[in-house]
Every structure is written in structure tokens, then in C-alpha cells.
Subunit: 198 residues, 2 copies
DNA sequence: TTGTATTTTTACAGTGACTGTAATTTTTTG
DNA sequence: CAAAAAATTACAGTCACTGTAAAAATACAA
């Protein structure tokens, strides 16, 4: 109907965005319904109305479908959030606050379902751990920008490892507890316990 | 020459052990020479003098060749070492001492080469992180046996995460430093720094 | 030694993720 | 509208890995 496409997004861009989203949604739903391993690329492509080859034009791997959902929301926001932190507080507390904010946004139905998928398969579990390692690196590098003194680099590494560790601990305790309280509470408690002496 | 096989090991067992070792050694050497991805299973099998199908009679996956070397030495010794610890000292110090002992035994030429391989490939890096996660679980469970009070379980989780974190930190610092001092020194320093207040 | 059970090895025929290539269609742009 | 750029597809291939069933090697008992 509009003969003038909105300047902000061309037909091409819109189609691309829609196709990407359709593949991801279709894939995730099929994973949930039938399991990750049992869902073939061919089936996802067919369901999404594209050829199998085209799938790889949008995603490098099957796993990347899940990374798509992990990525959107958590990992990408980490670096900017830390860079925006006030350099007056101690780094560990700064990172703690950033992570608490992100964790509380993370606790959605979808994330929980995806997490269950990530636990269902050996390779996916490994990828999940790798994501944490990536977050550590991201935190470390961001801290080095906020507090750039070279003699603090080792401290930054330590803070990055401890932060991700406490986040993982909190997430695990939350899971163990069946989600009675908010995930962020458990993460906050873990940080508190860490700081109250090891 | 001996018509009597030694009771301890039958022909079958010896051959099996030898074939397993031959596949692993051949595979590792070919990975080192030509890279992990560029080395096909078929090539390893051919070099080891077996059929491709027989490879999978010994290893479930190609990755398992590397796990074979990781496993022998580190992961398997972890649980018994912690179970043998004196319950008088604090858990964190106990685990620290265990890890320091294992790390000093770990720092061999072969381990370093394997570590380089594990860094060369995305999936392998992920597996490496997964191994650390597995060690955390092993430590946690062992601690729960040594100090079985239910109210200490969360503490044990914390100790497991912190220990593996400090070990990883030490290993990383050692690598960054080009191995001037022993790896165990860096790990020990990391633990010390952790305990001297976060 | 011989026969029989068990284990190991192999060939063969798949499946499924992923890649390279080159042709075709769709969208953009001048 | 024509030419460039991007998206889609078919097709053929590689490689890790699996299922199956038969053959070979080893163990064991009579």
C-alpha cells in the first residue's frame, strides 16, 4: 500500500529481519516440542518456508538459534552497562549491581525454557559454560577501560571471575530452590556472602 | 614365547590397551602436526592401522581423544584427593592444597601442547570450560562427604566455585606471564589474594 | 584338540550438520 | 528500465557418527 518505504527500513531489511525472527522462533518451538537433537535443520527450514541452504545464510550453526535468544538481552548489554558505571565505587560492587540488574531482567519464561534446552545436551551445556567464560572476558576488558591503571589488571581479572562465579552460584541456588524467591535475590546473597569473608 | 599369559592381563586386554593407546597417541600427534579440524577420523584410523568403524569402538567421539589425555592425571584424581583431606582445616584451604598439588603435576610439555589444541577450536574451548564446571561439581560433592552437615552445602558450593576460579585465574596469569614462575605459584598467589580480602 | 561363547574388527549403507559453487530470483539504485 | 547488489536455491560433496550384520580373533570348557 505504501509506495514509499519508510526511510528507516528498506523492504530488504524488513524481510531479512522477519525471516531471521521466523527461523529462530520456529526453531526454538520445534526444539521445545521435539527436543534439540531430534529437530533437523531440514525440518526447521521447511517449517520456516525456506530452503535448507538458506538457513545457513542466517545462522552459521544450529546452535546459533539458541545463542540468538541468549544474546539478545544478556551478553550484549554487559559491556555498555559496565562502561556506564561510576568509577567511585569498588569494581566488584559495580559489577555486582550491573549483574543484579541484568539477572532480574533475565528471569523470564522464555529464558527458563531455553535454559532447560541448554541442559539437555552435552555440547549445549559446554556452550553455556563457554558463554560464562566470554562474559568474564567482557567484564575484565570493560573494567580495564573504566579503571585503566595497569597495576589493577590482575584485580580486574579477579573481579570478573568472582562476579561470574557469584552469578552462577546464585542462579544455581535459585534453581535448586525451585524459584521461591527472585533469582536476583540469590545472586545478591551470594555476593554478600562472598564479601562477608570467605 | 610364554605359553602362559600372565594372570593379570589376557591377550585380549593387552591388545585392547595397546590399540587404545596407539589411537590416542596417533591422533594427538596428527592434531599437533596438522591441526584438529584438518585431521579426519579416517586418517587417524588409517595411521593407527584400524578401520574407521573400529575407532568408534574405542572412542565415542573425536574430541574424546583429547579428553583421554586430560582425564588421565587431573580430573580423576580430584575426588579421592579431597576425600583424603583432614576435616580440621577450613574447606577452602583444603581444596587449595589439593589443587596446588595437582597443578604442579599438571605442568608438563604434553599438557601445554594439549592446552594449545583446546584453544584452537570453538567447540574444544567450550569443552574445556565444561571440564572446569565438572571439576566444580566433583569438588562440591566431595566436600559434602568430608563435611556432611546439610547447613554447609551452600558454603561447599561457594568453595568449589571459588577454588576453580582461583585455579583458572592462576593458570591464566601463568600463561600471560609466559611461564616465568611455576604455574602453582600463580595459583597459590590467587588464593592468597582472595583470602586477603576481596 | 575341538567346539562354542564372547569379544573385536570390519564392510556397508545410512543420517545429519555444514560447505562450495554457480545459477536464478528479488530488491535497490541510478 | 537497466545494471548492481543481495537473497534464495539446487546440487554435489565432506566429515563425524550410527546401525547392522557378518567375519575374524580370543577365551574357555570338555
Amino acid at each position: 500500500m505504501d509506495s514509499q518505504p519508510p526511510q528507516s527500513e528498506s523492504l530488504r531489511e524488513r524481510k531479512r529481519r522477519e525471516t531471521l525472527a521466523r527461523i529462530a522462533e520456529t526453531g526454538l518451538q520445534m526444539f521445545i516440542d521435539n527436543g534439540y537433537d531430534a529437530t533437523t535443520l531440514e525440518a526447521i527450514a521447511a517449517e520456516a518456508g525456506i530452503s535448507a541452504r538458506t538457513f545457513f545464510y542466517y545462522f552459521k550453526t544450529k546452535e546459533e538459534i539458541l545463542q540468538h535468544f541468549q544474546g539478545s538481552g544478556f551478553y550484549e548489554a554487559l559491556r555498555p552497562a559496565i562502561l556506564a558505571v561510576s568509577p567511585d565505587q569498588p569494581p566488584l560492587e559495580a559489577v555486582r549491581d550491573v549483574l543484579l540488574g541484568m539477572v532480574s531482567r533475565y528471569e523470564t519464561e522464555r529464558s527458563i525454557v531455553i535454559d532447560r534446552l541448554l541442559r539437555s545436551n552435552e555440547a549445549l551445556r559446554a556452550r553455556k559454560q563457554a558463554t560464562f567464560a566470554l562474559m568474564e572476558t567482557t567484564i575484565f576488558e570493560a573494567l580495564c577501560e573504566v579503571w585503566p591503571q595497569p597495576e589493577r589488571r590482575d584485580e580486574h581479572r579477579m573481579v570478573a571471575i568472582l562476579s561470574i562465579g557469584m552469578m552462577r552460584l546464585g542462579m544455581e541456588l535459585w534453581r535448586q530452590d525451585g524459584g521461591k524467591r527472585r533469582m536476583a535475590d540469590y545472586v545478591g546473597d551470594s555476593f554478600a556472602r562472598l564479601q562477608s569473608g570467605v
